[in-house]
Symmetry: C2
Subunit: 394 residues, 2 copies
């Protein structure tokens, strides 16, 4: 195994520089066999790091991102990084995940489109994008790819593995697949298995993408006009965006205002006159299209639907009984997508096996996205948790 800088795939044109993004490549000699039966060769995992690995290699923390996240968890806008890190303010010197003390790593997940191998990457056979040829990947595959990177970096054991939403699914799979390689975990606003309602939201988004004629069965990369399934992806994202937020905040923020930037009819009502909330959703749908690959959205969404720590392990309880390390799980009372009962269930499953698990509830009306928005509260729980872990497990 060796690390090298590869051409960036997906949303980036080959050759475009991306500040601080590093690349690890594996499965160059033998294929990486996937949980779902497929396989991949020449797999690239993009990642970023912050801080310094100490001599005992014991101060490493892995951060896992959510659906449309990437390796840029922290840091400023930079070439190829059009936005600040998605957890900016959480990771840095003197911050809750303190880079003066920890060596912090964040990877782009397998199947993604921000540097790691995904459907938009060139297939090793012909150099053309995988498209519909890309295999199903699961959260476990994402985690096993991260484990290969850990080997490469010389990190036997993570001081902590931390993530929200789909990131939290990876956190749980880390502790179950590699119980000896984590000293603590923090699964946030996540679940031990996707519920029927969570699958339902994802399935509707997938069907909207399939309806888009420009999706072309997943092989849209070579479209002569450079066009793609942007409308289908935007609709899928709009739907997700409603589930990421909350009724009360939508009411407070938008109420029944008409879209500010639309022409208002002089009199009368128009079928396509938008309300402000529609304008907001259209904006978020169209914004994702600028930075995200539609097939990655489908592949990663399916990985979340397939998430079930109990699959092939004699059920959820048996799987969770493998977790033996101190755990902090965080919920948000207003989260309608990953309701707080799911994090309380994680705690119950662990505590019933004698594993220490603390549950902290974020007091925020912002819904699921509060794990990204209410960083003060998340940090106030995470910081002391990490302090304790270092004291008790080092």
């Amino acid at each position: 195994m060796h690390a090298e800088v590869l051409p960036v795939t997906g949303a980036w044109r080959p050759g475009d520089p991306v500040a601080d993004r590093r690349f690890f490549r594996f499965a160059t000699d033998r294929p990486f066999v996937l949980d779902g039966g497929g396989q991949l060769r020449d797999v690239t995992i993009a990642y970023e790091t912050w801080g310094q690995l100490d001599d005992s290699r014991s101060n490493a923390i892995l951060i896992c991102h959510a659906w449309t996240g990437d390796a840029h968890a922290a840091g400023a806008v930079a070439p190829g990084q059009p936005t600040p890190g998605w957890w900016e303010g959480m990771i840095g010197p003197g911050l809750p995940i303190d880079t003066d003390r920890y060596f912090v790593v964040c990877t782009n997940v397998l199947g993604g489109c921000q540097g790691s191998t995904g459907p938009a990457s060139p297939h090793p056979d012909d150099g053309r994008p995988y498209g519909s040829r890309f295999p199903v990947v699961t959260i476990r595959d994402m985690v096993r790819a991260q484990a290969r990177l850990s080997d490469h970096l010389g990190i036997d054991t993570w001081a902590s593995v931390i993530g929200g939403s789909m990131g939290g699914m990876q956190v749980l799979e880390w502790a179950i697949t590699y119980p000896q390689r984590v000293r603590s975990i923090a699964p946030i606003a996540t679940c031990a298995y996707a519920t029927a309602q969570q699958i339902a939201w994802g399935a509707i988004g997938r069907r909207a993408i399939r309806l888009d004629p420009k999706w072309r069965g997943g092989d849209y990369y070579d479209a002569a006009d450079g066009d793609g399934p942007w409308e289908g992806l935007a609709i899928a994202r709009m739907l997700a965006q409603v589930t990421f937020r909350s009724d009360n905040v939508f009411s407070e923020k938008f109420g029944r205002e008409l879209a500010k930037n639309d022409p208002h009819p002089e009199h009368g009502l128009d079928l396509w006159q938008r309300f402000e909330v529609e304008s907001y959703l259209d904006y978020h749908g169209d914004k994702l299209v600028q930075r995200f690959d539609t097939n990655s959205y489908i592949i990663i969404g399916k990985a979340m639907d397939l998430h079930d720590v109990g699959r092939g392990r004699n059920g959820v309880e048996a799987a969770m009984s493998r977790v033996k390390v101190p755990t902090l799980t965080i919920g948000i009372w207003s989260d309608i997508l990953y309701p707080s009962y799911q994090q309380k269930e994680i705690r119950e499953l662990l505590v019933s096996n004698g594993t220490p698990c603390e549950y902290v509830e974020i007091d925020s009306p912002h819904g699921h996205d509060a794990f990204l928005l209410s960083k003060d509260q998340v940090g106030a729980a995470l910081g002391p948790f990490l302090d304790d872990v270092v004291k008790t497990t080092r």
Copy 2:
């Protein structure tokens, strides 16, 4: 004004008989000017009745249907009526809405596709379907069309106006627009104004329909292949269906089961292998397509988004202060689409003006659809309420 049997429009072929469905036609001489600025001529309202109007014409109850409902609130399967009444078990001899005592009327709303004038109806100018020419209608227009029918039937005052979801919006508009024409109202699982989140769900469904190339801007009726925007409508319906139910019931009913009727892969995971909940949503989406017109879905959905009893009336409080009659409002604790705080708000608005209003909460995990599913509880509240109304207001 006169009643006559017209060719049925929309989902029914002209000439098909529909058991018990009656038709009222108005605006044959002067156009019906709409709330949104448009107008309609030769308007047909389809309706059904049960029981007998008494000599004093004081025992009439109006039932108002929801988004995809119709005039067939009660009754068996019959020619042209492929399903039993949508509130079967609530309306009939000895039932909570007792047809031995009351004369019960239910209309198909203006804009609908089950006999009343809607986008699939022939335009009087050319006999071709309205399609994209159909004007915006509001809940107030639906109610004013019902008032024309009331005039025709000789009903000056309804003993009660009752409805759930969009039906409840009509109920409130009845009491506000025609305070002298109702003696009581029962708005169920509804709201005084659509919230941003409710608008959001509707807007996403509309955008999915627009994405369907077979929608053709709304003018799909003459498509040479007889094809239409069924896929877009199905997706919109799937989304609505999730909001009509609840997380807990989805988990209980479907969990993480794979679709029973799909072939299961021998081994491995397949991107398009459905979970049972997906199969259920696909089924409900495709089922609606069999019986409902896509443009009606859009027009009625927009009417709900535009619902705001305060519009043009100096706000919600001023509008609600016009309601002076005994009110029963019913909520469902598990309703995520019309959360129970909205019905409690209706009560607060009325009680603060000295209007008697009772709030009853349905104890059901089924979500919004409990107003259709938990008829025992709805009936247990409605029956005594109607008894009291008759005693105190007759």
